[in-house]
């Protein structure tokens, strides 16, 4: 079944804009769901805090390619934020040094994310979203500007 998807700005700095996707009618984004699930989880609190700190560093320095670990396929921009010796993963699309779209994430307990249906689902959501985003970029409905994505607020994507 296709999911109705909208995109919201989470936070913006001079260097970077962090977006997240939402499948919910109330507008709760995938990144907010990630935070709600892990901010009070004692087992992964250190990982969670390091991920939030990493996002803050990205806001200050820009979304350098070197900050991300590619996680999807050669054809997509899906990446994870690699934190020191951590098991918690936050998946995202690194579109450029100025634009990052945050997805959901979870604890990596298997060797690859493909072996975990939940994590695989989060990665697939981002892969599907990127395909639709690229179609909208090609059609000119959305454009990538210096400071972020233009036209994205008015569109509901079906992924």
């Amino acid at each position: 079944m296709k999911k109705r998807t909208t995109v919201d700005v989470i936070v913006q700095s001079e260097k970077t804009c962090l977006y997240s996707i939402s499948f919910e009618t109330d507008g709760t984004t995938e990144f907010e769901k990630f935070v709600l699930e892990f901010e009070r989880n004692a087992s992964y609190n250190n990982d969670y805090q390091r991920i939030i700190a990493a996002l803050q560093a990205i806001l200050r320095l820009g979304a350098l390619e070197r900050f991300f670990r590619p996680e999807g396929t050669m054809k997509d921009s899906v990446a994870a934020l690699p934190i020191e010796s951590g098991k918690l993963r936050l998946y995202c699309l690194r579109i450029s040094e100025q634009i990052v779209i945050l997805g959901n994430g979870g604890v990596k307990k298997t060797k690859t994310y493909q072996e975990d249906p939940k994590l695989y689902g989060y990665v697939m959501d981002l892969q599907r979203f990127e395909r639709i985003l690229n179609e909208n970029l090609e059609k000119g409905y959305v454009s990538i500007e210096q400071k972020g994505l233009t036209g994205i607020d008015d569109i509901t994507f079906e992924i």
Partner: protein, 89 residues
């Protein structure tokens, strides 16, 4: 500032200052390595060869937000022939 931006600021405020500072320092070192590699037209593999280290180790040291030791910072700095950090005097 919109609601989500306010919400994110609240979440950032819950992270201990020490963690914020550590990850920020790590990110600044990685950004500096990135800048030097580009300036010198060096790849990560070139760096690994110069250091006599495996690609996997250099990847771990030069991507993401690693908790580098002074020893690894010194090794990287020597191989890159550039300072990576300085201490306030």
């Amino acid at each position: 500032m919109n609601n989500k931006q306010e919400w994110f600021k609240e979440k950032m405020a819950t992270v201990p200052k020490e963690t914020m500072t550590e990850v920020q320092l790590s990110a600044e070192i990685i950004a500096r390595i990135d800048y030097i590699l580009k300036e010198k037209s060096m790849t990560q593999r070139d760096l690994a060869r110069k250091m006599g280290r495996s690609d996997a180790v250099i990847s771990r040291w030069t991507t993401g937000f690693p908790n580098l030791t002074l020893r690894s910072i010194a090794e990287l700095s020597c191989a890159l022939e550039e300072p990576l950090i300085s201490v306030v005097k």
